[in-house]
Symmetry: C2
Subunit: 234 residues, 2 copies
């Protein structure tokens, strides 16, 4: 199953991240005619914010040790916690069922959009992705393909490299969730909003090259071939 | 004016960040009897997610150059954009009016809570904090005091230092907003959830010492004395 998640506030016509996740899906679909695809638009259909019932239930589950999702209901103490779990379990189940999680992620204020962080905060329920018998992550062989669109330039060696809290953050998050290094693909498209400001023409060339490289990398990943030739994997 | 913003999903009884921002306010209030305090609870009263009308209006404003908030209405083209601006302007106005912005920020999944990111994404409207005549930030002399509570240990020299996307992120964000280095105070309380896991007793001592240092630092900042003696400013 392919779990395709977009988080841009923009419609596809104005969103580089949406167009790039669509490209992945278009290449992937005919190659996997029998596979399901689940789509989640975190902007059209926002994940509800956490409440105190979520954190109370989460702490009780953490204190109980390694509790798999099917044993969480036995620890629920009131209707508010039941409601929180009802909002959370479908998100967890989708991730557990996915062979590939495809994420469209524009940079908002140097990091991921609040819409994506709301999904992360809810889906990361204690124990949800841990094998209760071994303590190992259940996501070792899950492939994560995140498309990271950024209005400016934040790549290695650029002056704003250290202001990038989008790419390194998602790497930290998914590594700690147990996604294997070789299954974690962060594909960046740089300078996507270069048209908003006065700029030297060379920046348009760099933006076009970055977009073309992202498209090639995503096409190869969707076809299951790994990184595109000539592109150093991040 | 003191703008006090909390973002924990927990009530004060279970929230270290809320108790610490409350401590700041308690010390600050009698010392500033004539000053206003505005309180915003981002968990009880979430900032609405961005829509495509927000980003469309934001891009139009960016293309127009340096547009101060009072000139934004002239660029609004439809009711959806008017609604977005109506949701945004009060947040911007509060920050512009504040001498001190006090933020309570628990670490959620290695970064700031989605509730705070939703505020950041909305309040960071193009041009909102820039002097249209000089291009300089209007927040140079605004003091930002952020209280950063983290369940684990992420301080300098710890094995998880590089998983901290809470402190460095807020530093990047407020620096880029133009807050002067000497006015940006990030106060951390480490190991606040040490009770959730089996742990050696020394970690409880470290947690208590970190909390005591945070309380001393916040008390000194609220009294306007700068960092507490013996504490290296971050």
């Amino acid at each position: 199953m392919l779990l395709h998640i977009d988080s841009s506030a923009d419609p596809a016509a104005a969103s580089v991240s949406r167009r790039l996740t669509d490209l992945f899906t278009e290449v992937w679909r005919p190659l996997h005619p029998a596979a399901d695809r689940v789509y989640r638009d975190l902007s059209a259909d926002p994940v509800p914010p956490l409440t105190a019932a979520y954190t109370a239930l989460g702490r009780r589950v953490e204190r109980a040790g390694l509790v798999p999702p099917h044993k969480v209901p036995a620890l629920i103490e009131n209707a508010a916690e039941a409601r929180e779990w009802e909002l959370t379990l479908p998100l967890v189940t989708e991730v557990l069922a996915a062979e590939t999680v495809l994420l469209g992620v524009p940079m908002y204020n140097y990091s991921v959009p609040a819409a994506l962080k709301a999904w992360i905060d809810r889906v990361s329920f204690p124990g949800a992705f841990t094998d209760p018998d071994t303590g190992e992550s259940l996501l070792r062989s899950t492939r994560v393909v995140a498309v990271l669109a950024r209005g400016g330039g934040y790549g290695p060696g650029t002056p704003r490299e250290h202001a990038d809290h989008q790419t390194p953050y998602l790497r930290t998050y998914f590594r700690n969730l147990g996604v294997a290094e070789e299954n974690l693909h962060l594909v960046t498209a740089e300078l996507t909003r270069v048209d908003l400001f006065p700029h030297p023409p060379v920046l348009e060339e760099l933006a076009a090259a970055s977009l073309a490289a992202a498209r090639a990398e995503l096409t190869a990943l969707a076809a299951g071939d790994g990184p595109a030739p000539g592109r150093v994997p991040e």
